[in-house]
């Protein structure tokens, strides 16, 4: 039996034993985990059956076709897309057993706490301290830009455990109970008035040593696993032609009834760039699927940020004075992901695209250094104890 046949047989079993129409969704996802269809490439017992990762898309597609929800992958994205990988690469048996299943069923939401007010692009310069106390660690500090923290049960947390070694060496990684004493989550309102993100404050919060991921001082290694997953998740996806922000611009153009040739040229130029970028992602996927990924795969995140900002700005220009309005006005609240986004809101929201998930400046460094092989900057913080490096 080929891997594909094996996967298909398991999907048949899942859907037969748990008819999507009549099965409670968490029960379905639990069964999916137990059958090894949660992360098919994981070994058996950890939500997988040890086959190639590419079959997961097939599982998801077949489930959707059968009317079975895969929304857990969205509302628990940081757990299922990142946390699981971290646990598999660095976690203990106990940790995997304890966390993977409720993560997949969505019973326990996960969040990720890396960035700090003083550590943005330079994440490894972070200051949140963890100090050992018996078989616990005492956490003090502040994290920022934490999505889902206000609904999360568990948080992936990087802390500084040794300030007296160079910055990458003194970090330790934990899984933190977000409901524990000393952990406070506050909404972080953004330019749109909405709070997609949170700030998390640690005030003598205590984490059992059993929740430490990998060794003391190995936090950076674990963080890199997490960040690589994050950057892959943004950009580089294959999308239909003309979708995304450019669709809004074209729609604005058409409903404007304008025949302004200057605007038209700008719109077509952006359409062309968006399409060239999209085709680059298509090429990247083809090369990756052939096992020979090339430079085309590295430009997606940067393109996405650059073009989104340009396209949404031009959209407002096309709208003219309508672009100066803000239907509904500003309200300080949690975002409602269900409602459609007006172009003005998209214009504001996309400003963060070149900051979140790696600033465009950092992405350009990565393209220059890792893809083109150009030399790095002189490092003033290398080989210097973290405590002696200026930051903030």
């Amino acid at each position: 039996m080929s891997d594909l046949e094996r996967v298909d047989a398991l999907i048949d079993q899942l859907l037969t034993e748990n008819p999507p129409a009549t099965t409670e969704v968490r029960e379905l996802w639990g069964a999916q985990f137990d059958l090894g269809l949660a992360w098919v490439w994981h070994p058996e017992g950890y939500g997988g059956i040890g086959v190639d990762r590419k079959y997961q898309a097939h599982v998801n597609t077949r489930m959707n076709e059968a009317g079975a929800s895969t929304d857990n992958r969205l509302f628990n994205l940081l757990g299922i897309a990142m946390g699981a990988g971290v646990l598999m690469a660095h976690g203990t048996e106990e940790q995997k057993s304890r966390w993977l299943r409720p993560m997949f069923t969505g019973e326990e939401i996960w969040c990720q706490m890396f960035s700090e007010p003083g550590a943005g692009s330079d994440v490894a310069g972070l200051s949140t301290r963890a100090v050992p106390d018996g078989d616990e660690w005492v956490i003090n500090g502040q994290k920022v830009w934490t999505t889902l923290a206000h609904v999360a049960k568990w948080g992936l947390l990087v802390t500084r455990t040794d300030p007296n070694v160079p910055k990458h060496q003194g970090l330790t990684y934990f899984v933190v109970d977000m409901e524990a004493d000393g952990v406070e989550v506050r909404p972080l309102y953004q330019i749109t008035g909405e709070a997609e993100f949170n700030e998390v404050f640690f005030d003598d919060a205590r984490v059992p040593d059993a929740n430490r991921i990998d060794a003391v001082g190995a936090g950076w290694r674990v963080a890199v696993t997490t960040l690589m997953n994050e950057r892959v998740a943004i950009g580089g996806n294959e999308v239909p032609r003309g979708s995304g922000t450019i669709a809004g611009a074209v729609e604005a153009w058409k409903s404007s009834g304008s025949d302004d040739q200057v605007l038209r040229d700008e719109l077509v130029r952006l359409w062309a760039e968006v399409e060239a970028s999209r085709l680059t992602a298509v090429r990247a996927n083809e090369m990756a699927s052939k096992g020979t990924p090339g430079p085309e795969g590295s430009v997606g995140k940067l393109d996405w940020a650059t073009l989104n900002k340009q396209v949404t700005s031009l959209t407002l220009d096309i709208m003219g004075l309508d672009g100066t309005l803000f239907p509904g006005g500003y309200q300080l609240r949690r975002p409602n992901y269900g409602e459609s986004q007006v172009p003005q809101r998209a214009f504001l929201r996309t400003r963060a695209n070149s900051i979140e998930g790696g600033t465009s400046e950092i992405m350009m460094n990565i393209l220059g250094e890792r893809v083109l092989g150009l030399p790095g900057e002189p490092r003033v913080d290398k080989d210097v104890p973290w405590s002696e490096v200026r930051r903030g």
Partner: protein, 370 residues
């Protein structure tokens, strides 16, 4: 060349206007106040408005005989530069610039004598001219004025009316010309429309069978004077935009000097340093364009060049600078808590209020024969 004699340097008088304004605005329009007004229903601080009136700002560019202080665009621009730097909310631009200029440009001596003292003394006026989203030249005006015995009857809908919800006086563009309409007149309905830039509000003004006295028609040149009013408005707005750019530049540079990542101030990285340098260049260009326009308002041919030049340069410059300020600030620049978004929103909205940069360039091309 007339411009050879123009001085762009600060005079003691201009420096006094700016330092007085900076002091007052820091005191009365600190960031907490601006934010409170931004989230309030009408975006208006009537107590502060009274002080503004007492300071003589609403009459700054109104002749002394009409209750103003008799200054002109140079002084008004100097003031607006500081107001732009503080992203001050309220109807000042709509009233003291747009409505006042419209009355000055279109009104007869008698009309000016009637209306300017009201504006100087703090009644709020605004310009209700646009109907469509991208027709800044008013190629088509659907609002009609029809004569009925001794009165005019106005019908139509004016959109994007700056601070219309606060206005006492509306200067309305109709097919027969510009009309002064009291906002309380029967048949006038004013509805605020939420704005991208919540520090500068707008309203939609509906006129249904509004009867206004025959003397409400400003002057006798139809809509001819409107283009000059809009050029002057563009000139004034450019000064405000330049003021916003100075905040962006200073904020970016300050952050680049103090924020450390990788053990270095981020301003030591060329990606940030060169962007700050580019912002400096755009700031200087914007200043040149705005200052020049403010100094040639008496020369119609030169204003026809200088105003759209300033509108194009300052609009593009401010939108770019405010966007890059957010980028240089990084995450904090994207928060509601930091002031950067106030400038970003102001910049984008201002770049569309009286014409987008392409519209300004079209006017400029016409003026220089390209």
């Amino acid at each position: 060349m007339a411009e050879a004699r123009i001085s762009y340097a600060p005079t003691d008088e201009l420096e006094l206007i700016q330092s007085t304004a900076a002091e007052f605005l820091a005191d009365r329009f600190g960031t907490a106040t601006v934010r409170e007004l931004m989230m309030s229903d009408d975006g208006f601080d009537s107590a502060a408005w009274k002080e503004i009136v007492e300071l003589g700002w609403t009459g700054l560019a109104i002749a002394e005989e009409h209750g103003g202080s008799g200054y002109g665009m140079i002084e008004m621009s100097a003031l607006l530069e500081v107001m732009g730097r503080h992203v001050v909310p309220g109807p000042f631009f709509a009233s003291a610039v747009l409505a006042t200029t419209a009355v000055q440009e279109a009104g007869t001596a008698e009309q000016q004598a009637n209306l300017l003292p009201r504006l100087a003394s703090g009644e709020i006026g605004t310009l209700a001219v646009f109907e469509r989203a991208r027709d800044w030249s008013l190629s088509k005006v659907e609002t009609t004025a029809t004569r009925d015995a001794e009165v005019w009857v106005l019908n139509g809908v004016k959109r994007y009316v700056l601070d219309g919800h606060l206005a006492d006086l509306l200067v309305v563009a109709a097919d027969q010309g510009l009309f002064v309409v009291e906002s309380g007149a029967d048949g006038v309905r004013i509805e605020q429309t939420p704005t991208l830039d919540a520090t500068r509000r707008q309203a939609t003004v509906s006129l249904e069978g509004v009867r206004v006295p025959s003397g409400s028609l400003l002057g006798d040149r139809g809509l001819d004077s409107l283009s000059r009013t809009l050029l002057l408005g563009t000139t004034a707005l450019a000064a405000e935009q330049y003021g916003g750019i100075t905040w962006c530049l200073d904020t970016s540079v300050e952050h680049a000097k103090t924020r450390h990542q990788f053990g270095r101030p981020i301003g030591s990285f060329q990606a940030i340093k060169h962007r700050c340098a580019e912002m400096l260049i755009k700031s200087e260009h914007s200043k040149s364009a705005a200052y020049h326009a403010a100094r040639v308002t008496d020369d119609p041919d030169e204003l026809a060049i200088a105003a759209p030049l300033a509108g194009s340069i300052c609009s593009d410059g401010y939108v770019w600078a405010a966007g890059e300020t957010i980028q240089i600030l990084g995450g904090i620049g994207f928060t509601w808590e930091h002031d950067a978004h106030l400038y970003f929103k102001r910049a984008k909205a201002s770049s569309l209020l009286l014409g987008d940069p392409r519209h300004h360039r079209r006017l400029l091309g016409d003026a220089i024969g390209i």
